[in-house]
Symmetry: C2
């Protein structure tokens, strides 16, 4: 029996559902081979992801106006192109930014979400843009009941507007909503607002750079190794 | 070949995809039998739908603060309960309002949407609430790429924010978006903003009260009798 108190599961996406690092290193390396561009693509991908939190922090602090993650990715890439000595035309730049729309899911995701959807409403709750999340879901052939994200509320996580707005749009009180994420910080922010929380371990998300989020912190409701296990744990009630 | 200029199809929902009138008359009549409540349920349903446009007009004019369609449906029902002499408890009231979350689709909808999704991004673009639209899609087992609606933008159609906001969230220019609707007024509002337009005839939507929208007005791009035909017309390009 599904937990009767939880009605909707909200999923973090980058890292939790999709293996951005392996996917981007592969597609950028292929770009390098195709175009004869030499670069340390692995380092570029790590630096691009490294720019993610600081770029959103500027929006969250009101330092720059609201813009979606595709715009932030494009701006970060401009800085990195300079640092890595890449000369990118505008079409190449747009193509590279869109590689974030073409990530591969972890192997358990399609089956896990299909199982979870039998008992719960499912939505994304990501800092990605709506168009990006729609593209990822379509490419991986996974089914959410709707796509909600930072762009839906013009607030990046961990701003409370995003968590509370998402629960409200699905007609849930916070305690009827569960955030599923591979990142303790995200789960703590949701828990502080009354959400229930599930940690999914993705210990290779950051490759050799991973230095945290190997296990769930104290206070997280459920800790699992993948979505198949999450479905089993929730089914036990 | 799908029309290369259109990338996303946006669907009006009440009347265009779901037969609200037949569904509500059936569920309210069953409620009457179960509870021993006598009422002209057909007249009540028609009056409830009759309150729809005026109730949104008060929000659109700024006369009352933003509230979603579930709230407007509940307020309209209170007026009608008085007019029809119904004494409703708060649970019955909530149950009746939720009948709008349990409508049946027209018979072509599931197959038509599945076919259309092969070539296009699909989203709702309705005045219904997110929770309502999620419930309708789930119950009918139809798959949209996302759920967008008045509540996403806190503007009811035909406010331009709703059409333009929806296209932008899917990364489309207005001319890359097509509104599919059974109502000429909705299609004219979208066309004025640059959307392409498809009229689907639903001549029994309002039952004996139907007095318009039997055929597409001049200027609508495509006119069809159901979504199967729409998929065929778009496939011809």
């Amino acid at each position: 029996m599904p937990d009767p108190r939880v009605r909707a599961l909200f999923f973090d996406v980058f890292g939790t559902l999709f293996d951005w690092r392996t996917s981007l290193i592969a597609s950028l390396s292929a770009f390098g081979e195709r175009t004869g561009t030499t670069c340390d693509w692995e380092a570029l991908v790590d630096a691009w992801r490294g720019a993610y939190v600081p770029s959103m922090a500027r929006v969250r602090a009101g330092e720059i106006a609201w813009r979606n993650l595709d715009a932030l990715h494009a701006e970060s890439l401009d800085d990195l192109a300079e640092r890595f000595g890449l000369a990118l035309g505008s079409e190449e730049r747009a193509w590279l930014v869109r590689r974030w729309h073409a990530l591969d899911p972890w192997p358990d995701v399609a089956a896990g979400l299909a199982h979870l959807r039998e008992g719960y409403l499912l939505s994304t709750l990501s800092n990605g843009s709506v168009a990006l999340l729609v593209a990822l879901a379509r490419r991986a052939d996974v089914r959410f009941d709707t796509i909600l994200c930072a762009e839906s509320f013009r607030h990046y996580k961990p701003d409370p507007e995003t968590y509370l707005g998402a629960a409200a749009l699905l007609g849930c009180e916070p305690h009827e909503a569960m955030l599923v994420a591979a990142h303790n910080d995200d789960l703590h922010a949701a828990a502080a607002l009354g959400f229930r929380t599930a940690f999914v371990a993705r210990p290779t998300e950051y490759g050799p750079l991973q230095n945290k989020d190997f296990v769930a912190d104290a206070g997280i409701d459920i800790a699992v190794t993948d979505l198949i296990e999450l479905a089993a744990v929730l089914a036990r009630g």
